[in-house]
């Protein structure tokens, strides 16, 4: 697996960025952290936009920066989306879109304008003067431009912030497929934990100029105290292979010993080998002591409790399903007492088919 | 034969030299086929500066012998200069008839501005100053004076109407282009009131080797030239005399 080696001690005014790490440069990596923690700074360092002294940046055995060695950005072949809209004001929308594409050797062109234009719905923008594009339109254009540069690495700084939810619903799966098919590693910054859950394979957490955690998304989500969940909901992932719809239109997603019924399969983001990844909010999981009839909740999964931890004045119940996958349920202390929950106790986890994303 | 002659001349000679050169070219038409003569006018000071810096001038007509002497001292010319005429100063105005007007009368209120050439470096300006001083009106008139860079520009100051009177070279008043009705309304200044304006010319080191330049020297002494000079108001010295150095 290609890797991205970064080592830097960088004093930016009052702020210092201290990084010494090897990041996996494959799939999609989310950079997450509070405002001002250094996410954009890290991307600028990787891109070589800042001359940080004595820093080391090595991407897939290409020493981009090491000692006196410094490869300028235009030879690093990085696709960049800036946090603040970065269109070239003197070019038309179309010229902006193709600026990078024209500078790629033809044999390296894997992403073609027609596809990108279709997927990002850029068609109608191309003939408009640049000054007349709305915020979201600008962001889509900048994203398309970075993709068409056919880079060997994508660095996107809050690329979806100005997109409306319909666009996002369309674009995120496209980005996923694109990364899987082209193998271009992608780093993106986001403040939206749902984007991260949907898109990322790895999570890099930053705080105060340092990387505080880097792990696969599954591992990261298993930790309820992960800052990803500050101000948003705890989520567990369920990996499985979808099967045919039944006559009711329900889709069963099968893992070793479990079957999760889904309302439908429009949203889940496919990952490789036919698997899909489903996210289940801990708040959406209810517990019962035995299967319940006459209830609209269809997924009633046998599980046993592996851990009970207090979490934000509630209890977080960690469950192991029959196939070994982890599921988390958030429960009030009252309910936990009522059901008399203890570690090891077998329970039924109730998950609404529709609540699964 | 050399086919190019470059002459640098002081501004007061502007009109006279045109006629002199026309005659010169006609006179030596056979000897000098295809000759082109360029004349560059300017202040004597600037031209002599340029000659010191290697300007490609063959002949230098100065408004004051002083400049040719200095150049000779610096070994830039073949001699200290031949005086071919004396310049004359006139009091002239495009609005007022100056005939019979004495310098002392310039204190009158109708003469608001009086233009003279810059006495610091223009020979005609210095002589104008001398005349005003000897007329005893310099200090009274000083606040009325405006200065031209050279004598031609001084004439322009008056001609534009901005200056009411100017003290300029007679040769300029006598030129064809000055409108006839005002042209005659000038008053000659007495030569005794200022040092003489010795118009002199000299060949530069490069000019000395040129045939046309030598021929021009010969032509300068000719009667025809003296006639032209007189016509433009220059006073002629006795038969060409070398100024002793």
């Amino acid at each position: 697996m290609t890797a991205l080696r970064i080592k830097a001690h960088w004093q930016r005014h009052h702020f210092s960025l201290n990084i010494d790490t090897i990041l996996p440069a494959s799939g999609i990596t989310a950079l997450f952290g509070r405002s001002g923690c250094g996410k954009s700074s890290l991307l600028r360092l990787i891109a070589g936009l800042e001359m940080v002294r004595d820093a080391t940046v090595i991407f897939a055995d290409q020493p981009w920066q090491r000692q006196q060695n410094f490869v300028p950005l235009h030879r690093r072949r990085i696709g960049l989306v800036f946090q603040q809209s970065g269109l070239l004001p003197h070019l038309s929308a179309e010229q902006n879109l193709l600026y990078g594409f024209h500078r790629v050797q033809p044999e390296l062109r894997r992403l073609m304008p027609a596809d990108v234009i279709r997927m990002l719905e850029l068609e109608s923008l191309l003939r408009q003067p640049l000054t007349s594009l709305s915020g979201g339109q600008q962001q889509r254009l900048a994203l398309g431009r970075a993709l068409l540069a056919n880079p060997q690495l994508l660095l996107l700084d809050e690329p979806f912030a100005a997109l409306d939810s319909l666009s996002k619903t369309a674009i995120l799966p496209y980005i996923r497929t694109l990364v899987d098919e082209t193998g271009i590693p992608l780093f993106f910054v986001s403040h939206d934990s749902r984007e991260v859950e949907k898109l990322a394979d790895q999570l890099v957490l930053m705080d105060g100029g340092q990387i505080t955690e880097q792990s696969s998304l599954t591992t990261a989500l298993a930790n309820p105290n992960n800052p990803l969940f500050d101000g948003s909901d705890i989520v567990s992932l369920f990996f499985g292979v979808p099967a045919e719809k039944d006559s009711w239109g329900r889709v069963p997603v099968l893992s070793n010993a479990c079957c999760l019924w889904l309302g439908d399969l429009t949203e889940p983001v496919p990952i490789s080998q036919g698997q899909v990844r489903l996210s289940i909010r801990a708040k959406d999981v209810s517990l019962a002591l035995s299967p319940i009839a006459d209830l609209s909740i269809q997924n009633q999964l046998p599980a046993h409790i592996t851990n009970i931890t207090p979490y934000r004045q509630q209890f977080l119940i960690q469950l192991q399903l029959a196939d070994g996958q982890l599921l988390q349920a958030e429960i009030t202390p009252y309910a936990a007492a009522q059901l008399n929950l203890t570690i090891g106790k077998p329970v039924i986890a109730l998950v609404k088919a529709i609540a699964i994303r | 034969a050399q086919d190019k002659l470059t002459i640098a001349a002081a501004s007061d000679l502007r009109f006279a030299l045109e006629d002199i050169l026309r005659d010169f070219k006609a006179e030596y038409a056979q000897d000098l086929t295809g000759l082109s003569v360029q004349v560059i006018y300017g202040s004597s000071g600037k031209i002599s500066n340029q000659i010191r810096q290697g300007a490609p001038f063959d002949v230098f007509f100065s408004a004051d012998r002083h400049f040719t002497q200095e150049l000779f001292r610096g070994n830039f010319t073949t001699d200290a200069g031949t005086v071919y005429a004396h310049g004359r100063l006139v009091l002239w105005s495009p609005k007022h008839d100056m005939r019979g007007v004495a310098l002392t009368e310039l204190t009158a209120d109708k003469y608001l501005k009086i233009a003279i050439a810059q006495p610091l470096h223009a020979p005609y300006g210095e002589r104008a100053r001398q005349s005003l001083v000897s007329a005893g009106v310099w200090s009274q008139l000083e606040h009325k004076l405006v200065y031209g860079e050279n004598i031609a520009q001084t004439a322009q100051l008056a001609q534009s109407g901005a200056a009411d009177v100017a003290i300029i070279a007679l040769s300029l008043v006598k030129n064809r282009r000055l409108t006839s009705d005002t042209a005659a309304h000038y008053q000659l200044l007495d030569v005794s009131t200022h040092q003489p304006l010795l118009q002199s010319y000299a060949l530069t080191k490069r000019g000395a080797e040129k045939l046309p330049a030598q021929l021009l020297v010969r032509h300068m002494a000719s009667g025809k030239t003296r006639q032209v000079l007189a016509q433009y108001g220059f006073e002629l010295p006795g038969p060409t005399h070398q100024v002793a150095e």
Binding site: - | N49, Y147, E149, L157, S160, G161, A162
Partner: protein, 233 residues
């Protein structure tokens, strides 16, 4: 080094005064002019569009004429027989030839493009947003100008001021023609230096030139140094 004569000091003082007033007048005049020239082009009627282009072109023309020629025509215009001069005289005012106001006017005219163009360029690059922000926060036009436009276009103003000040310091031809080298009134430094040089009084010419250079050097060095320290953008 010989001491400078009283006349030389007078010329220095006059020149500085002239350059200073010229710069000041130019900044006052050209700021609104340049703002208008730099305005939004979009949605302009064809008439306004060409009117602007015309004005912009005319403003640049003083550059093109040789200064002595410009000076000569100004002399014709401002002198007692010129349109402007005679009108002034009818109003009981002095005509402008051979006077300080006259050479001030000439300097302003002559340096006009050097002030307009950098300002216009700065205003064009500024864009609309900063002004919109200020307006949204309650700043009226004057307030906007002093708290937003001026500081953000500082570079343009510095260039405009420097070019017009320095250009006036060095101005020669126009003033020679129109001014008549009257000591204390229109005999500026450049003419004084020229006179010294023509009179082969090289020591004095050199001394004055050096002084002028040194002075300008110090002024410019301070202006540029200070400008860069605070960062003009």
């Amino acid at each position: 080094m010989t001491a400078l004569s009283a006349a030389d000091w007078q010329a220095i003082q006059l020149t500085l005064t002239l350059a200073f007033y010229t710069m000041l007048l130019l900044l006052v005049i050209t700021t609104p002019l340049a703002w208008w020239l730099a305005g939004e082009r979009r949605g302009l009627s064809a008439f306004s569009y060409w009117l602007r282009t015309l004005v912009q072109t005319v403003v640049a023309l003083p550059l093109v004429l040789p200064p002595t020629v410009l000076g000569f025509y100004l002399l014709l215009l401002l002198g007692p027989q010129g349109v402007v001069g005679s009108t002034l005289q009818q109003l009981g005012l002095p005509h402008l030839a051979f006077s300080f106001p006259g050479i001030l006017l000439a300097s302003v005219l002559y340096s006009l493009p050097f002030a307009v163009q950098p300002l216009q360029q700065a205003f064009e690059q500024l864009g609309r947003q900063p002004v919109e922000i200020a307006a949204s926060l309650g700043a009226g036009p004057i307030d906007q100008f002093f708290t937003v436009i001026l500081p953000l276009c500082r570079g343009g103003f510095v260039v405009a001021a420097t070019l017009s000040f320095a250009h006036t310091l060095g101005e020669f031809g126009v003033i020679l023609m129109l001014g008549g080298s009257i000591p204390g009134q229109t005999k500026v430094l450049s003419i004084a230096i020229y006179d010294h040089a023509e009179a082969m009084n090289y020591a004095a010419a050199q001394q004055l030139s050096l002084l002028l250079l040194l002075f300008s050097f110090v002024v410019l060095f301070v202006v540029y140094g200070a400008r860069r320290k605070t960062g003009s953008l």
